[in-house]
Symmetry: C2
Subunit: 894 residues, 2 copies
């Protein structure tokens, strides 16, 4: 660690640069970069993320020497600008902003107009010749400092301001009761009153006068930024976004520029391309005569960039130049914040812009075609959520009449896709109702960082105010979650728990449907359908398939799933669970239950013979769909008690249906009870105890294969034995499978070839992989169970303690939930050991993974890195796995 804690920027010179994101945070690095390129950036300095880290490590104390370095930078800033903090004639004002390495929109606090005091506000008024402007800046500063740095409830300030507006401004301007009093309507006298009342509130709440020393204001603000790093909402955001290993936020102190200096001033937020569609157009919002906060908070609805061009062509053209420069520099779509002060453009921020899933594909492919980036870059930029996002549903357009009948209102379509669900009005209800299994639509006037948890839980978000760059839009876009903003006709009454549009009243719990593309809102539930995949998706996936090496199979138990998975690019079935087939119809269920209740081999065989034709037909269907592609069929795996009813009435019903005594059923079910079913009588242990079940399943598979083969279908069955722990155990079962299979093949005169392998899911099997591979032709890592046993964690019970292990504030023991992303250190080590040992005795041993990790990007990359032949995942995750496989290769090359 160096002892340099503060980095200055200004006058086209910088102490840091754009590559120092870790240290300066995203915002600080962006400011340094833009300053260096020569873009118009107000001067300032960045206090590093390292200080934040040290601040927390030292029990909220700053490292030695920081104060001196800050003082020096302020002096430098004062010299550079020629103004002094707190000056009674022409004071220097600064903003204080947070900026972590990862963009956390709206999470960190910002304080503007710092440096204003009772004395310097006069200087500002004098210098600008605009008393109203100076007082407006002061009242904003008192409110931001009071609420953000000192923790006073912001609503208390709002109420004071509203009171003055209603009691004084409304009277003065004679505004009727049904109209709103705008901030701009308030005059300097009234603002003076507001400032007085704000300071009184401050004193009442804090017990001290509002600080009149700008240095005290500055350090109060710096602390506020650092403290916000561990605030509930910031931690929640990091949890939801799975942001780990980031040490803290930087603090950016920068000369104030003013977008609220009248109609030749303004402030804006823009994207260098359309963040929704990805189109190569300049996209953004501009608010005339406003400070930056007003745009992001969505309080006023802004104008479009095209209107900005009309309003101030010179500033606009300057901004277009900046757009080009930055895209060439960063080679990615940028999200910019800027302010125009009396016609002069200032850049306040630039960062890689969040984008919708559709835009992610479009921008990536466009930039390849524009020669800005390579195909590998494009592949690496796509995230799993982008793929998920483009598979999000749209409203089924065939419901034409319904659409007309149910149409309610139109807002700004901020994030495309569609969602239907029940209305809730706050984040907590959203989380609670979603946890109960409901799809919910969160309806808010505007959203704020406190709402992030509820927004994440919701299927869709609808706000009454705000533009496409408001908090709600930005956050939802990151998740590809359907969102409509700025729906101003919405009249929300939180207290009553309802909103109305004209005469129509919608209450909490009622269903509505959102179309995030058009911005249309509908009453009731509409049918959704999957949206069509854009060309850019097809391009990226084609490029991905060209470079990826590890194959992607799917977990599919039905011909329907198999077909769907092939459409999504699956190269085979890596896991076909046979037990699900037993539940398909009552006839099947009864047969398996009869088999379980039987206590003689003959009776079991009788029941199994009823199941045989069903199972055979299932396999025929699947083999047909997979023509030419391998199909790994796993033999029955769950413990038998999962197939039988556990309550008396159902047991009696079953007994009657299969013609045995109730006591027989009850006794058998009781007998099947296990203390730890995960480690119980399941998997191949069933084949050892009841070889007749094994025989039936093998017969079904091989007879189906023979039938298909005769019909000209290319069948590649791979019979997979679950839960193997020993080579002798595998050998016995394999021998039995081969004997029966070869007999059936011979009887049928079909030239079917098949493989026999094992699901590798018990630690012992991984350790004995060399011996098991002497007989097994393939291993498929069942990483769900392997994780349970290797870590000693029952997935069903993990809810009681695993969250504490993943929660950074509590322990931070694990970076990720090991059931979502493979634990590469522990479970992965066993996978490596098994792969190495297995290949040692059988060099062409086929290796795959069929746990749910097969559809997780990091896990797929790990699998590729240890040399597995394929991953297998649910059909819907197949494209993600393909992408991950390609990303692994792309990263290797870079």
């Amino acid at each position: 660690m160096s002892n340099k804690y503060v980095y200055f920027f200004g006058d086209k010179k910088t102490e840091g640069d754009g590559s120092m994101r870790e240290l300066l945070g995203g915002k600080g690095a962006g400011l340094a970069a833009m300053t260096k390129i020569g873009l118009p950036v107000p001067a300032g300095f960045t206090i590093t993320t390292e200080v934040c880290d040290l601040y927390y490590k030292n029990g909220k104390a700053y490292p030695d020497g920081l104060d001196k370095q800050v003082d020096e930078c302020i002096e430098k800033l004062e010299r550079s600008i020629g103004k002094k903090l707190g000056d009674r004639d022409d004071p220097l004002l600064v903003s204080v902003r947070s900026g972590a390495v990862v963009s956390m929109p709206g999470m960190m606090e910002t304080i503007l107009n710092l440096g204003l005091t009772d004395e310097s506000v006069e200087g500002l008024a004098k210098k600008t010749g605009n008393k109203r402007f100076a007082l407006d800046a002061y009242r904003r500063f008192i409110m931001m400092y009071g609420s953000t740095a000192m923790g006073i409830n912001r609503e208390k300030f709002d109420r004071i301001f509203d009171a003055v507006k209603n009691e004084k401004t409304r009277k003065r301007l004679n505004i009727s009761a049904d109209k709103k009093v705008n901030d701009t309507d308030v005059d300097d006298n009234e603002l003076g009153e507001v400032v007085k009342l704000f300071k009184e509130l401050y004193k009442k709440e804090i017990g001290k006068d509002f600080p009149q020393d700008p240095k005290e204001q500055l350090w109060g603000s710096i602390s506020a930024v650092f403290n916000s790093w561990m605030a509930e909402k910031a931690v929640t955001y990091r949890r939801v976004e799975n942001i780990k290993g980031v040490v803290g936020t930087a603090v950016n102190v920068m000369q104030m520029v003013f977008g609220n200096k009248g109609d030749t001033s303004g402030t804006g937020v823009c994207f260098t391309r359309d963040p929704n569609t990805g189109e190569n157009i300049f996209y953004g919002d501009y608010l005339i005569n406003a400070q930056g906060e007003d745009v992001v908070a969505g309080i006023r609805t802004p104008i479009k960039l095209s209107d900005f061009e009309k309003a101030d062509k010179k500033a606009y053209d300057q901004l277009v130049g900046v757009r080009k420069t930055l895209e060439e520099n960063y080679k990615d779509m940028q999200d910019l914040e800027f302010t125009v002060e009396e016609g002069k453009l200032y850049m306040l921020q630039c960062r890689t812009g969040k984008r919708s899933p559709f835009a992610a594909f479009k921008i990536a492919t466009d930039m390849v075609e524009e020669g800005l980036i390579t195909k590998n870059d494009a592949i690496r930029r796509i995230k799993d959520r982008d793929i998920e996002g483009i598979f999000y549903p749209i409203i089924d357009p065939s419901q034409k009449d319904e659409l007309k009948k149910k149409y309610l209102v139109n807002g700004i379509g901020a994030v495309p896709g569609a969602a239907t669900g029940i209305v809730v009005f706050n984040a907590k209800d959203a989380e609670d109702r979603a946890a109960e299994g409901n799809k919910v639509i969160l309806v808010r006037k505007e959203t704020s960082p406190e709402d992030v948890g509820g927004m994440h839980a919701a299927a869709g978000i609808l706000t009454a105010t705000g533009g496409k760059t408001s908090h709600a839009a930005v956050v939802a876009r990151g998740w590809g979650k359907c969102c409509i903003v700025g729906c101003e006709s919405l009249n929300i009454d939180y207290k009553k728990g309802e909103f109305s549009v004209g005469d129509v009243v919608v209450r909490a719990g009622d269903s509505i449907t959102l179309d995030g593309t058009s911005g249309d809102v509908y009453i009731g539930e509409l049918k959704l359908k999957t949206s069509e995949l854009p060309d850019s998706y097809q391009k990226i996936m084609k490029w991905a398939d060209e470079i990826k090496k590890i194959k992607v199979r799917t977990n599919a138990d039905t011909p329907y799933d198999a077909k769907k998975a092939i459409e999504l690019g699956a190269e085979g079935i890596g896991l076909c669970r046979t037990e699900h087939m037993f539940f398909d119809t009552e006839e099947r269920r009864l047969a398996i239950q009869e088999m379980i209740v039987a206590n003689k081999v003959e009776d079991r065989v009788k029941a199994l013979n009823k199941l045989l034709p069903f199972q055979r037909e299932d396999f025929v269907g699947i083999f047909r769909e997979m023509n030419g592609k391998p199909v790994t069929v796993r033999l029955i795996d769950p413990p038998l008690h999962e197939f039988v009813p556990h309550d008396e009435s159902k047991q009696r019903e079953l007994a009657a249906k299969i013609g045995v005594k109730y006591e027989t059923v009850k006794q058998r079910v009781d007998q099947l009870h296990e203390a730890n079913p995960m480690l119980g009588h399941r998997g191949c242990r069933l084949a050892i105890t009841y070889p007749e079940i094994l025989d039936m399943q093998v017969r079904a598979i091989i007879e189906a294969a023979c039938k298909c083969k005769k019909d000209g279908i290319d069948v590649k069955p791979e019979i997979m034995v679950p839960l193997i722990i020993d080579y002798k155990e595998f050998g016995l079962i394999e021998e039995r499978i081969r004997k029966l299979s070869d007999e059936i093949i011979k009887q049928n005169g079909a030239s079917v070839t098949y493989m026999v392998g094992t699901m590798l899911e018990v630690p012992r099997a991984a350790l004995l992989a060399d011996k098991i591979a002497e007989r097994a032709e393939f291993f498929s890592f069942g990483t769900n169970d392997l994780t349970q046993m290797t870590m000693g964690i029952s997935r069903d019970d993990a809810g009681k303690f695993l969250p504490d292990y993943v929660d950074e504030r509590k322990t931070g023991i694990f970076m990720n939930d090991p059931f979502q992303s493979l634990d590469t250190e522990g479970v992965g080590e066993l996978v490596k050991i098994a792969a190495e040992r297995g290949r040692k005795s059988r060099p062409n041993l086929k290796l795959g993974i069929c746990g749910e990790h097969g559809g997780d990007i990091a896990s797929v990359k790990f699998c590729a890195s240890v040399g597995l032949d394929y991953v297998s995942c649910s059909p819907f995750r197949v494209p993600i796995a393909r992408l991950a496989a390609a990303q692994y290769e792309a990263e290797k090359k870079s």
Copy 2:
């Protein structure tokens, strides 16, 4: 594999020798050895165990060339003896006996007098001038061949013989109805009748005449021996004795010699030392005018060797010579079978003799002192069951009046020790009642190989007939199981399920007590006590401690256990389970339950404060006992639901006692329910969720240590964190332990030093051992849980399938129950990995094992071989672990 299947012996020359036990079996090797030394052994040949192996591998077909080799040997035998098989004047008769590499007494079948036919029986009569003898030999042969080779129920033969005896002999000799007709009373006419009836029975049962071709008889008998290898009783014996990896039995064909040729003939079984006490005296039984089977079967009660000396000094002296020769040759106590034919001694078998636990120690130490063997040999000869055996109880002699009052009858004390239990009359009842948790005494007229399962299940065995070398005695001795034989006053009625001695009737289910040392039987249950340890035990253990390197600790939760373990040689406590302490009194139980039901930290702390003084006092008691020896204390491990009641009435009771609502208790208990508690919220996961529990326990340990230290006691606490799966997890807990401990030590001003380490019981921890060892000062392998997770087997549920895995006939997948003897291939591999990785980052890392494997000989040797510092086991197993540790060193040296 060679193509030599048959090995000849005779005329002091042999094709095989004593070292070829694997190939020739124990009996065959013994015969070859004795023949080579020049002892009088009838000529014959051995068909190898390899043939048995091939026989089963080829679907019960013999290898090519076997018949030719057997024919050649028969010719050689005929030449050597000068008689021919089936000869009508002077036929050669042979015996056919089994003989596996491991002695399996009574398991394999024997056929005598083979070669007798309707024709040759006349020749034998003529040659011996003894028609009665010839016919008696023939009727025995038909019965043995008919029952053993052809599977006719032996009782059918017995009934025919009894009928002739009762209807003809009784009348002829006018024997009164209350007396028994002896076999020797039957004359040649009557025997002729028996032979006729036996052959008729044979024809009726088999559908063919009794074979008159000796070669057909021979092959039938050879097949019978091979088939008996896989008979139920043989397999059961191997299972009970845990005999594995033995390919089959050999077949020994040998010239018949006759102990039943009148009063100068006889047959005997003897041991070169006393198999009960180990004393260096000649010990055995002799039956005048009898064939070998009569001794072993216990049908007649034999005379002692001293009486044999009186009866036939010459033969006896010859036998004494043999005894000396063989002990010098084998350097171990031998079990011999011999026959005297008309004054001439023939040796029929020699093998290492089974002995009682006391005898094992005595013989081993005596032989060291006699210079026959080394101390290392002595150590290697002691078995775990020998140690268990000498700890077996005796009847508490303080019950003098009781002893007098309850004395019933005296038999032959065949295996020392005492046993008390309820009477059962057959093997099945013995197994069933024992499985219900009863101690049972198996009472039989005589035992047979079919009874082995029941004998094993019984606490003691009592038979009405047989001597110290009868089946019951030999089998029970091997197990060190209390056994009384030859209790001839016993009148057993199997049908009524009772036995009587005079007027006293004892029914199934009544209690009796056996004194296996004196042979006394008592009515009712007597108090037993531990017997005193013999000097020879102390000697062996002293020698063991001199060479063993790995230390032996004990698992002890109370000062009482700790004290007992030290007496048995424990060098520390390797596992002190703290949770058992919570159940000691109601007060403690209530406090822990109150803690669990509480849902606020403050309430939990309040309840924990009640537990603190108890736990501290427990540790004080243990530290005192262990003065100077290390004590590993494991923090609370089981899931909390194990501490709370699960039925409504007890929950209501608890609620009332701790002053909360019943619903609160119920809800909390329901909440604690887990699908797989083994992999649930337990171990250090409790410390993560409820650090206040950790704090209380650490406080109790360290405060106790400080107190003891002040009292001048040398305390070495080792705090062990259970169920660790990650180094960060361990780091967090270790930090908390150290902080609190150091604080307490400082407050107390005591110079206590302590260690912090982990129980290594989850596969992931083994894989990450290097990182965990950076903070952990010791690992203690919890091989119970490590086995469960590595093998994916819940111990509580294993009963449903694990027996199939260990049963050789079903699968033979595992040699041993992995919960009894460590699975060295799988679990052991993880132990090795963890030891290596752990020592890599901390070379002086202390390593131990505290699973139940710590008291298993093979597992202790494994632990020594991978470099562990200690094993820990229950107090009673400490001597076994010490012995195993020494055996490992002794074996390394040899």
